[in-house]
């Protein structure tokens, strides 16, 4: 993930460098982590400007508090926690957006993540089996298809309920571990897994529709 700009040095080195005022290291972290932070901030806030300000305020808090950093987590997790807290405060001020807490319930509907109508119902042995197997997906070929698929993917992400979007973005787009995500969002492992599962099932469903439509149009 994000290897283009290079992986940052180990945490101990980063913390010492930031405390010592090493601007190269700071700039490296800033450029490496900001894209993911902006994407995450967007899942809380309705406008690009708000997200940018939240990311800016997060970095200012990092600058102001690096001396007090306790190393109880990784630097990245610490930064992301500041980001989430800053975004939540900002979100609470913005009436247009759904508060995180009230979004929570609607985010976790009961029932299966995969459409139950895909499976047979009945009492015989085939009950619960696929009515029709999921169609094979093409191996993406060529830039055009890839770009289109990416657009569809981004749209699918944007359409997810906020908490699911946050979790899947952190896990599958940004590459955080489940432990990090639990720590950043202060949720249980089981909760993280449920949100991730529903999000992945939704996104797979969107991609399934996309590939199906694409195969018909060829």
């Amino acid at each position: 993930m994000g290897t283009y700009l290079g992986e940052p040095p180990p945490d101990d080195v980063v913390v010492e460098a930031l405390r010592a005022g090493d601007e190269t290291v700071f700039a490296q972290l800033l450029d490496l982590w900001t894209p993911g932070m902006l994407r995450l901030a967007r899942s809380y806030l309705s406008t690009r400007d708000s997200a940018e300000e939240v990311v800016q305020d997060t970095w200012l808090a990092v600058i102001g508090n690096i001396d007090g950093f306790q190393r109880r987590s990784s630097v990245k997790t610490w930064v992301y926690r500041i980001l989430i807290n800053t975004a939540k405060k900002r979100q609470a001020r913005e009436s247009r957006t759904i508060p995180w807490s009230s979004a929570f319930n609607g985010d976790q509907p009961e029932g299966a993540a995969t459409d139950p109508s895909r499976f047979r119902r009945g009492t015989d042995l085939r009950s619960g089996g696929w009515k029709e197997l999921p169609a094979l997906w093409p191996t993406p070929e060529g830039e055009a298809l890839a770009a289109e698929a990416r657009d569809r993917l981004a749209t699918a992400l944007a359409g997810l309920p906020p908490r699911q979007r946050t979790v899947i973005t952190l896990r599958d787009v940004e590459g955080h571990t489940s432990e990090e995500v639990c720590e950043i969002l202060e949720i249980s492992a089981a909760n993280q897994r449920v949100l991730l599962h529903r999000a992945r099932a939704s996104v797979r469903g969107v991609m399934e529709d996309y590939f199906e439509a694409a195969s018909r149009s060829i």
Binding site: M1, G2, T3, Y4, L5, G21, E23, F26, A27, L30, D31, T34, P35, G36, L38, R39, R42, R48, E52, V55, Q56, W59, L60, I63, G64, D67, A112, A113, T114, P116, R118, F119, S127, G128, G129, W130, L133, P134, L136, W137, A149, R150, L153, A154, L157, I168, D172, V173, E174, G175, S178, A189, R193, L196, R200, A201, V203, R204, M207, E208
Partner: protein, 114 residues
């Protein structure tokens, strides 16, 4: 040992990939998968989806090439060269943050200059 049905198996995909299933459930899941083309495809598609999602970052990082850095905010201004959902801070904001970092070093007490 009871077999998982397909609708049960697909709901365990994430737990399986997260290594969160107990040994019994894991082995039941795997033996179901070995015998079920539909669920095997489903799992592969979930993995493909995860791979595609991971590609979003790589792609965008790739676009954030250093060679473009110098000319990224040309006459069009901070947002002009990129779509509004580009993944970088406006140049002036980035510059202010670097300045804030520099000033932190020179001031005895951290402050927020913005």
């Amino acid at each position: 040992m009871k077999r998982f049905s397909c609708d049960e198996a697909v709901e365990l995909t994430t737990a399986y990939l997260e290594n969160a299933l107990g040994p019994t459930a894991r082995s039941r899941f795997e033996s179901h998968l070995a015998a079920c083309e539909g669920c095997e495809r489903h799992l592969r598609q979930i993995k493909t989806t995860i791979g595609l999602l991971g590609g979003l970052t790589v792609e965008q990082s790739g676009q954030a090439g250093q060679s473009e850095q110098a000319e990224q905010h040309g006459p069009l201004g901070p947002h002009g060269a990129f779509p509004p959902d580009g993944d970088r801070l406006p140049t002036d904001m980035r510059a202010r943050l670097l300045k804030a970092f520099r000033e932190r070093r020179t001031s005895a007490e951290p402050r927020t200059p913005l």
